[in-house]
Amino acid sequence: MEPPVLDLKHVRKVYKGKVEALQGIALQVPPGSVFGLLGPNGAGKSTLVKILTTIIRATECEGEMLGQPIGHKPSLQKVGYLPEHARFPDYLTGRQVVEYSAGMAGFTVRQASSRVEALLELVGMRDWAQRKVRTYSKGMKQRVGIAQALVNDPKLLFLDEPTDGVDPEGRREIREIVKRMREEGCTVFINTHLLSELEQVADRVAILAKGALVREGDLEELTKSKEEYEIVLASPLSDELVYKLETLSAVVANGHILFKGGDPKQLQPVIDFLRHHEVVIQSIQRNRLSLEELFLEVVEQSRNEEPT
């Protein structure tokens, strides 16, 4: 098994004024995966990414990134980063922004030229590449930002709110780029508020709240924990049938029957029971907790656990 691309054992950051932005984060990101870091505003998501990219100095830091200690500058040659609210110098053209990023990563313009072209094409900015950044819309700047983050062919890519200000078509394209990067073996670490976007691409997620990691795991596993079947009936049930159904671990409410768990075998006795009593079933639907519901539930839980 390949070692994790990111293996954090303890990352803590205390800002001046004793504000504890990160309370000893520990997490692992497997290679070739899309990892989503979620959290409400001020949870410490951007602080964590900035520590990993050496923009902020951690108060305490134990862990490795790409097999090197956190803060090891040369390893950043294989890291791409799109910061939140990225601001590119307005005197540069889109192409120059990407070339600047390549140069800072140690590639000459000649070495990077074919990749710069390919990336500008990939993000749909080739026709605008010669124009100054000041003439770009927010979505166009974000596309250029993604191109500059990819120019060094990164093994680990950090995207902080990548779809911020991007139209629906652009968001879909960014999702496709993320999927493509994963297929090419790149690990993508995404900070985002747009949970529905993340749900479509993420393999693993972690949820931060007030600087602490409150949930982490495989997206499939996390959302599966609240799986249920919903059976919609054509007519209301008698009290007797409701009572009997409840003995089968089903919950009846507003003409709907809810059956906890995602195993279809366990649902069969309920269906048999209904058919036996000639109850007309309108539909059966398998419900799973959305990432947004999971997020809200976890954040709410963490709030309730706060000492009063």
Binding site: T54, P89, Y91, G103
Partner: protein
């Protein structure tokens, strides 16, 4: 190395995008053209490419006074007024926002997240900002260099010393801007502090220079006691002046390096005497060159570079330690 070239190229692109860069370059070209328009003929000298001419006994084609005047116009008028006064102010205004803009949220991350040390980024960014002055003064001085050949008939590469000297003066003041802007992220504060230090240096230079003249070079009506009394004050002024950058004296150091009539050293005494002509009283002018050269080059440039080094070290340390 590639990262350094990338940062320098970025600085050049930034300067090119500034309107003030082109305005300053345009004025430099105009001043250079005016300088070039000064000519000498058999009877005297002419201005504006011969549009205005007048006869003069000393300043004639082929006379050594003509060369002294022509170089003197450059070193005593154009350099102090244009290059080390107006061009530096325009340069400070043009470049003061470089560090605040670079350190703004969303911008600094693009550079700091790369495999380049913060110190290298800081120093390259600083050097890149000096490009403004290098390009302005470099092009202007090269123009003067060709003008000297055209008007005097000889190549005088010693005038090119004004490029590193002007750059040094700008770098002292820009170090103030960098330190203040790294701390406050305020462009205005950076410019104000630089002007304050510049003004302080100007005042202290005047105080120290006058005390030197009074204590060591003037008779003060034969009052030797008064001169003795002034010496401690002079030493105190030197102590105060030592910690400041020597902007005026750095430029004046060029007088010692410039060649006139094949001899090293530009004499302010001779130049003033030539300008005053028959009215000049050489006795009154005696001591001017000594006063100008009262401090060694090591003291003038060395202590100024120490000032710059201290400020840059502090700014660099803050830049490297800071969370962005």
């Amino acid at each position: 190395m590639i990262a350094i070239i990338t940062l320098l190229l970025d600085s050049y692109r930034l300067l090119k995008a500034r309107a003030l860069f082109w305005i300053t370059l345009g004025i430099s070209g105009l001043v250079g053209l005016l300088y070039l328009s000064i000519g000498f003929n058999e009877g005297g000298m002419s201005l504006f490419f011969g549009l205005v001419s007048f006869e003069h006994e000393l300043f004639r084609k082929g006379s050594e006074w003509a060369e002294l005047l022509y170089i003197g116009i450059f070193t005593k008028f154009i350099v102090p007024l244009w290059i080390t006064w107006i061009a530096i102010i325009l340069g400070l205004i043009s470049t003061a926002s470089i560090f605040p803009d670079f350190m703004s949220e969303g911008s600094i991350e693009l550079s700091l997240s790369k495999p380049v040390s913060r110190l290298k980024i800081f120093l390259t960014k600083y050097l890149g900002s000096l490009l403004f002055m290098l390009i302005q003064v470099g092009l202007f001085t090269v123009l003067v260099f060709f003008a000297l050949k055209l008007r005097m008939g000889t190549w005088n590469p010693s005038v090119l010393w004004m490029v590193p000297l002007s750059l040094l003066v700008f770098s002292y003041l820009y170090a103030v801007v960098v330190l203040v802007t790294v701390i406050t992220k305020s462009t205005l504060a950076g410019i104000l502090f630089a002007l304050l230090i510049w003004f302080g240096s100007f005042i202290m230079n005047a105080v120290e220079g006058n005390l030197y003249a009074a204590a060591y070079t003037q008779s003060q009506g034969g009052d030797a006691e008064m001169q003795e009394n002034l010496k401690p004050w002079y030493r105190a002024s030197v102590a105060l002046y030592t910690v400041l950058p020597k902007t005026k004296q750095t430029i004046e150091f060029g007088d010692r390096l410039i060649t006139v009539g094949g001899q090293k050293g530009f004499s302010t005494e001779d130049f003033t005497a030539a300008l005053l002509g028959a009215e000049a009283d050489r006795e009154d002018l005696e001591g001017i060159d000594d006063a100008v050269r009262r401090n060694s080059g090591f003291y003038v440039i060395g202590t100024s570079l120490i000032f710059e080094g201290v400020l840059l070290s502090l700014a660099g340390w803050l830049f490297c330690r800071r969370d962005f």
